[in-house]
Amino acid sequence: MKASVSWLSKIRHFYSNTTIAAPVTVLIVILVLFSLFVPKFFSFRSFSGIINAATLNGALAIGIAFLMVSGEFDLSVGSNLAISAYIYGNFSVAGQPFLGLIFALVVPALLGAVNGVILVWTGIPSFIVTLGTKYFYRGMLWVITTGSMLQTVDVLPMDKIFTGRLDLLNNLISEANFRNSLFWLLGLAFIFQIILGKTKFGNHVFSVGSNPGAALGQGVNVARVKILSFAISGLMAGVAGIFLFSQFHTVRVASGDGMDLYAIAAAVVGGTLITGGSGNIWGALVGALIISTLRTGVVLLNIPFIPADNFEAIVGVTIILAAILNMYISKRK
């Protein structure tokens, strides 16, 4: 009896103190529901498929969640993703994959930092700044590539490392089709969650997102924190671009368009406050998984009035429900 009471209080404590409690619960609930009601859903084939489909959004969502904790958000990550994919692709095709890797990370990180610099200098809200750079960055990409798509049929030297099949796991589980990108995502989420939760810089990110005036009053360099957070958002868009080209060997000028909003959706569904000051990187990954699970479930369900192409309707409902759930939990604290 006593043990069960302490268990209950532990669960309650977990719920009231962890921003990822709600999204984890949501993910488990929809996984169970789909497993019960959707034929063929409960299999490692669909689970690994869900994870693979969440890779790009997950990478973007890691950066977006970090940035959102600092109180800003970034609509230009979709454009940055395409820029990174072109850089990585062109260098790789030319036989310089390592150089491509470096530039595909540094350029988006710098473009992200430019968002931050504009924001800090002008005081224009991030919505407007990144709406502008979203179009400007993609426009510049069009000019530089003259609008032509980049495609290769060759196997690139670093494909295996980023998006190759994760045979270690796949050999253990029949039907599973996990990819190496899963490792990278988990590693990056781990690193950025540590930075956010366990370092001085992370402490400053939270303070700037919740009350910039108080942060400034305590000697926090608010401008530096914002610019660095934007750079991290850009960097993760660079990672997503590398994944994209590594896996599909194709990039168009329009690649990644609209993914910015999906990433924000994943962060919000994952428990990050849109107003800043609260959030969790793992939650953003869970958010990306929730969206991906819904898509797979809807495809398999074959509902007549919700075709797979129209699963956006379900994402929309999920975002609003997640926001309501987050608000309810934070009010109960």
Binding site: N203, F206, S210, G213, G217, K333
Partner: protein, 256 residues
């Protein structure tokens, strides 16, 4: 009324001498003399727009005086930013700008002065240490908290004020500037906050208590400086004037 004496003023902890501040053609402050001594609670009284916050912003380094000189511990100083003010020991506690609501008490306590431990070349927050230092140092000045990991947003206004005051005391502030610390508090909470101010006085801190309402400060202040429309009305010691008299001086219903 206490006569202005520059010689004596310069020997107190903080002395702002002949401060004039103009914003364009508007003269916000004219020839103000204001200071506070160790172990003194000085009320800075004035109606809305009288110039209280301008004067304090000059002391905090947010504004520079057009004319005038600040002395700190007897030496002339130039305070160029809130950071510089804090470095010499001037700590301001603003009602909305003191603490970050979504962060825990201990993370707030150490914000900008985090305790880190080294793991190889990396530095991580020493959260356990921060929590225990925060808890014990607040306890030392009579502030009890339920848990250092509790979010500040769930605390009452009085608890937040007291934590901000406690933080200033712990980090060695010599001057505490409190901006309307009790104006939004219940009677019981106001008493508590006043008791922390008395505690700070016993520790020989100088306290500047800014308010437009004399009732809030009458219990605790040792002396009062009243300003009206950017002018010094006068400085009075405790017991010299009734609450009524002070209120009349603030509004200008009575001349000094």
């Amino acid at each position: 009324m206490i006569e202005v004496n520059h010689e004596r003023g310069r020997n107190s902890l903080v002395w702002m001498e002949n401060i004039t501040k103009k914003f364009g053609t508007i003269c916000a402050l004219r020839d103000i003399n204001f200071g506070v001594q160790k172990g003194e609670v000085r009320a800075l009284l004035g109606d809305n727009g009288a110039g209280k916050s301008t004067l304090i912003k000059i002391l905090m380094g947010i504004h520079q005086p057009t004319v005038g000189q600040i002395y700190f511990e007897g030496r002339p100083v130039k305070i160029r930013s809130p950071k510089e003010a804090r470095e010499i020991g001037i700590e301001a506690v603003y009602q909305d700008l003191a603490l970050v609501n979504l962060m825990s008490i201990s993370r707030n306590f150490f914000l900008g002065r985090e305790v880190v431990k080294k793991v190889g070349p990396l530095k991580f927050l020493d959260l356990k240490n921060m929590e225990s230092i925060c808890r014990s140092s607040l306890h030392d000045i009579g502030i009890e908290i339920r848990s250092a990991t509790e979010r500040v947003g769930s605390l009452s206004g009085g608890e937040r004020q007291s934590i901000a005051i406690g933080r200033g005391v712990y980090f060695g502030a010599k001057v505490l500037i409190l901006d309307e610390p009790t104006s939004a508090l219940s009677v019981a909470e106001t008493r508590k906050v006043l008791s922390y101010i008395e505690n700070a006085r016993e520790r020989q801190l100088a306290t500047i208590f800014i308010t437009h309402n004399v009732h809030h400060v009458y219990m605790v202040a040792d002396s009062y400086t009243i300003i009206r429309q950017g002018h010094n009305v006068g400085t009075y010691s405790k017991g010299e004037l009734s609450e009524e008299d002070i209120a009349d001086l603030i509004t200008g219903d009575r001349e000094s």
